[in-house]
Symmetry: C2
Subunit: 427 residues, 2 copies
């Protein structure tokens, strides 16, 4: 663990530490599909900033695809190998050769880990190489790091996860629109959230592989994919969802790993959640994992499921961690100006005399300052009226200037009330 | 970074690695209030399991309180110091002496970090000691580790957080019950979610300190607490919240740190969030942090705000990370039996002929198998009726046995449908 990973994480590069004089950190890349390509681009884009953080610049020293590259030569040249081939043949052979030769391995391969984890862990243990696989589970959600590191000292009782974005997209669509399973699946396929052959996802197999990996990590027991019973979502009906809605329940494909008196239970099944459950609000193609332990109660981690750039980012996080030497002198922080007048959306509440033209005058002042109104609620109360409005984002100083003018209007009965509004991340 | 932290996290101890022959890892503890006491208990409880993971057994080698212990002697004896005194005097002096002597420091002290971070980072950098402070921000939510490590290679654009549990409890209560600020504050005080003097929390000062720490880490720029403008929740009215509800908005005290064209903006203010925002569903005393970066879109981390055992757990996670040598041979995983017949709540949907006594017979069969009904929806459709029920938790085999019997009833028109139900974590 780096002395400084938690203290200094400069994303601005200090020229003194771009480390152009130190040897680059050489990354061999196996596989160059969507994720491989995204990883290569992201690494190049972030190489200088990473050099600023860890003192060495990462660079791709070789790429293996079906038609080019030689694994042996790439391994020879690499400090670390990123495996993005998928499947187990030839990924398993390459992974074992890499770890046995003492080179670090970062992989996004859930098949490899859930079928051959023990072999890989053993090989890494013997050579002292690092094996990192954050990207194999739950996309960008850092479940592996949080379970393996933040909670390394904790007694974990249960891990519940929505670890497949395709099925969560389908179930969310069914819940929102009342669509049948078939209709929602077609929509997911049309939008690129489901494959032409969705079997792996909708049968729960994909989620089962991820739960095998999480259970292995959380409970320190070997779990093979074939030992995880799974039930998919193919037979869920619109009617199930409609009835359950009346009972205050929403449906998710849940991966569950938990301690029981007589051992461990690791399963995947569709399940209804009550509204108060932290996973109940996880919608669309998002993934999330809830970890329960007596000391912490629970932690929930959520974010987009696997997409090319998300997976690439998780892989890069693992690469950077593997690069960091046990202790190093960090660069000093780079001062940046702190600004306080920034764009924001706002809520404005004004008490006014209830007479014609009031809203028009308020709106005119806002308009003159470049403030645009998104929604308004107006209510008469006796001789007064209340205007509650939400504005589109605008520079705070301009909005405050408008409010100062509004406050001076003779029909305004009390100081206007202003509160920030944060827009949805995806609108 | 340990070779194995991500691969092997046994919580069961293998006798070969309890490492009774290796020297214990000595932890000096400064401060013995609620968190200090909880940390000491947790460490003792988990010491053997941690020895199984990292090969050394942690133990408390000295405790400093106002009335007992000598800092110099404790420092001398310690491999790592845990600082839980709070405030800056004498915590700053102790922290600097610790780091300058090359001993690792784990602290939960947001004042120390947000006022004197640069001095501390410099001292740690010079000696190569580790400075870890997960517990200083957002309770058990692992924001520091995820920003500092998982996203070490990412370009972070924005960090939004609900980092004060007291204010979130108050705002949630106002939203749910229509209470005034004063009423909700009294309730929070009565339930132990707010201090007798709630100033630090309700003015946003506490959140500002945490945002200064997060901004420093996310953007690599020094941010002092005094540079973070903050607005509290004292003047929020029940009316604001009621109007906003009509506009689809919910109110949170938001800490915001983001890149702007001309520098950084770090602020704390109450803000309305649209329903789709990942922080909108974070209620009660929970904390949450959303991190946005182009490559990942966003990650949201949520969990209980600071309580004694939660903070202690975050401190212990840091201690374990600091203990782990750069590379070590992990113990093999311990096999545990995988069980598949476990307790669960269930949803049951049955199509029946609409005639008297049907529900009674179904309920009787369930009762004979020990299955207890939590809620029922019954609807007539023509000559048929549909029963949709949710059961309390029961061993799956018993529930399935009941369903088999129900299926054989002559008035049942179609195979019953069964789906798992996951109960709320806190009911």
């Amino acid at each position: 663990m780096p002395a400084w990973s938690c203290g200094v994480r400069p994303t601005t590069i200090s020229p003194s530490v771009t480390a152009s004089h130190t040897r680059p950190f050489r990354v061999g890349l196996l596989g160059h599909g969507t994720v491989g390509g995204a990883f290569e681009r992201l690494l190049e884009e972030r190489a200088d900033a990473i050099a600023g953080v860890v003192g060495r610049r990462p660079e791709i020293c070789g790429v293996l695809t079906r038609s080019r590259g030689d694994f042996g030569e790439i391994l020879e040249r690499s400090d670390l190998v990123v495996e993005l081939i998928g499947g187990t043949d030839p990924a398993l052979e390459y992974a074992l050769r890499c770890l046995r030769s003492g080179k670090h391995l970062v992989t996004a391969n859930k098949q490899l880990l859930s079928r051959h984890g023990e072999e890989l862990f053993e090989a890494a243990g013997e050579s002292g190489a690092q094996l990192r696989y954050e990207a194999a589970v739950a996309g960008v959600v850092p479940a592996i790091r949080v379970i393996g590191e933040s909670l390394a000292g904790a007694h974990i009782e249960r891990v519940h996860g929505i670890v497949n974005g395709t099925t969560n997209f389908i179930l969310t669509a069914m819940e929102r629109t009342g669509a049948s399973y078939e209709e929602a699946l077609s929509e997911a396929q049309a939008l690129g959230y489901a494959e032409a052959d969705p079997t792996e996802d909708v049968t729960g197999k994909d989620a089962a592989a991820k739960m095998a990996i999480l259970a292995r990590l959380a409970f320190g027991t070997p779990v093979h994919l074939d030992e995880v019973p799974c039930e998919g979502i193919e037979s869920i009906t619109a009617e199930d969802i409609a009835y359950a809605k009346e009972l205050g329940l929403s449906l998710k494909l849940i991966g569950s790993a938990e301690r029981r008196a007589d051992g461990l239970s690791v399963q995947v099944y569709p399940a209804f959640l009550y509204g108060g459950h932290p996973l109940a609000a996880v919608n669309g193609s998002f993934n999330a994992v809830t970890i329960e332990s007596p000391a912490i109660t629970e932690i929930t981690l959520s974010g987009p499921g696997a997409g090319g750039s998300q997976t690439a980012s998780a892989v890069l996080g693992d690469v950077v961690s593997a690069m960091i030497p046990p202790s190093y002198n960090p660069p000093p922080a780079e001062p940046q100006p702190l600004v306080s007048d920034v764009e924001s959306a706002f809520y404005l509440h004004v008490e006014v005399a209830d007479r014609p033209g009031v809203l028009a005058q308020v709106a005119e002042i806002l308009g003159l300052q470049g403030v645009s109104i998104k929604s308004v609620v107006q209510k008469g109360i006796g001789e007064d009226a209340r205007l509650a409005m939400v504005m589109h984002a605008v520079l705070e100083s301009r909005f405050r200037a408008a409010v100062d003018l509004i406050e001076r209007l003779d029909f305004v009965r009390a100081p206007p009330r202003v509160i920030h509004v944060i827009e949805e991340v995806f609108e």
